[in-house]
């Protein structure tokens, strides 16, 4: 059974990376009770770079509880609980190798569609206390995934998650992330991915560029 274990939000916070100040919404922490899902974010959640994080294709970020066990030995953090990876939703039984780009899910009363994997950023390196973690995260293929909101609603920790519609092309989040950010020339997967109808436009362009390069 797919389950929503925790709903996590953040205020913006200033951090310093290599002498440069950055505003970030990565420090997400669990909230209890019902949380409103709005079209471009969860109520009460903040993303620093609206263009990169937030907006329709990144309204919510999902990370899997199973991966907390996997990463435990690589990390030494003061706080290592739900929201650590900057995810809005900590879930179980939704690993990247089972979830397909374009799948539609119900969480509580809200409907979401999986848009893309999450490539790690330097802010994740900061919370991990190890800039090398970015590379490890990428190569492990345990990306977690972003979703767009199809229907506003309410979510709460403990809600069951239901698959409403499986994408017919069937490119998993793991395949997709590996194809775009790790093994960049996997022609067969690139061609399959182009068939996904609800692909984010910027990604469609990237995939086409990779295909052109490999031909």
């Amino acid at each position: 059974m797919m389950k929503l274990l925790s709903v996590n939000v953040s205020e913006l916070k200033e951090i310093n990376i290599n002498g440069k100040n950055h505003s970030t919404g990565i420090f997400k922490r669990p909230v209890t009770g019902k949380v409103n899902v709005l079209h471009d974010a969860l109520d009460g959640d903040h993303s620093a770079e609206k263009y990169d994080y937030g907006g329709p294709t990144q309204a919510a970020y999902v990370y899997q509880y199973e991966n907390y066990d996997y990463w435990r030995e690589h990390l030494n953090a003061d706080y290592y609980g739900p929201g650590f990876f900057g995810e809005n939703f900590t879930v179980e039984n939704m690993l990247d190798n089972r979830i397909r780009i374009g799948d539609i899910f119900r969480f509580g009363t809200a409907h979401f569609q999986v848009t893309k994997h999450r490539p790690p950023c330097k802010k994740l390196g900061h919370v991990a206390g190890d800039i090398g973690f970015i590379k490890k995260f990428m190569q492990a293929g345990r990306f977690g995934f972003y979703m767009r909101v199809l229907k506003q609603g309410e979510v709460m920790a403990g809600d069951e998650i239901e698959l409403l519609q499986a994408d017919p092309i069937g490119v998993t989040v793991e395949e997709y992330g590996m194809m775009l950010d790790v093994r960049k020339g996997d022609r067969l997967t690139l061609e399959r991915a182009l068939e996904i109808k609800d692909l984010e436009e910027a990604h469609r362009k990237r995939i086409e560029a990779l295909l052109n390069k490999s031909s």
Binding site: H39, G55, P56, K205
Partner: protein, 214 residues
């Protein structure tokens, strides 16, 4: 359903009341076949990339059925193909039949209906009518934009409907709600649940809803 004419233009300078404006709204019929890539037709380029150059606007289609209507309004009989700045002059279906997300095949290219056309000031200048923007909106004869799912060669001839979803809104229904958001909040809300809604369009509708609630 037929594609009657393919019309393109590069940006050109036109003078309106002494003001020079760069525009690509003066589209001219060309003979095919023509290459359609992900962004545009060969030979077609927008002057104002901010408002007209998005991928969801790769092709603008306008039903030939509306030519008679507008010729009557303007008291003329000779609007040429491309009069409305459209890339495709079509026949056999209008905004009342076409649904957001519908997928059509033209030649070997696949196109997806994304949004209605919001008339701009340059369009009114071309039509030599200050009230044209309002007339066009109220008529709901907006034509529709399409994105390119699969690039290919296009030519005049048949247009084939490949995929539709009966639960999706027609272009005319969305136009009615989008142009009068205060009274159509629920319809706009519902439009966001359509799969295949282009993210840029989703963003515009969300912003429209925010603007009326603040």
């Amino acid at each position: 359903m037929e594609l009657l004419s393919i019309n393109v233009s590069e940006p050109e300078e036109h003078t309106f009341d002494g003001n020079v404006i760069r525009t690509s709204i003066y589209k001219k019929p060309v003979s095919g076949p023509l290459r359609l890539d992900r962004r545009r037709l060969a030979g077609d380029r927008q002057a104002n990339m901010k408002h007209h150059g998005q991928p969801f606007q790769a092709v603008y289609a306008y039903p030939f059925e509306h030519y008679a209507y507008w010729q009557k309004v303007f008291g003329v009989t000779d609007f040429p193909f491309g009069q409305f700045g459209e890339n495709f002059t079509t026949q056999g279906f209008t905004e009342r039949d076409v649904r957001i997300g519908d997928i059509y095949r033209v030649g070997d290219a696949l196109l997806r209906v994304t949004f209605l056309r919001i008339p701009c000031g340059v369009f009114a200048l071309k039509m030599k009518s200050a009230s044209f923007v309002n007339l066009f909106r109220e008529s709901l004869r907006t034509g529709f934009y399409m994105s390119v799912l699969r690039p290919g060669q296009v030519d005049i001839g048949s247009i084939e409907l490949m995929e539709t979803n009966p639960e999706h809104m027609t272009v005319a229904d969305l136009a009615r709600a989008y142009f009068n958001p205060e009274n159509n909040r629920e319809i706009l809300e519902k439009s966001l649940s359509m799969t295949g809604l282009a993210d840029e369009v989703r963003h515009m509708i969300v912003n429209k809803m925010k603007a009326i609630s603040s």
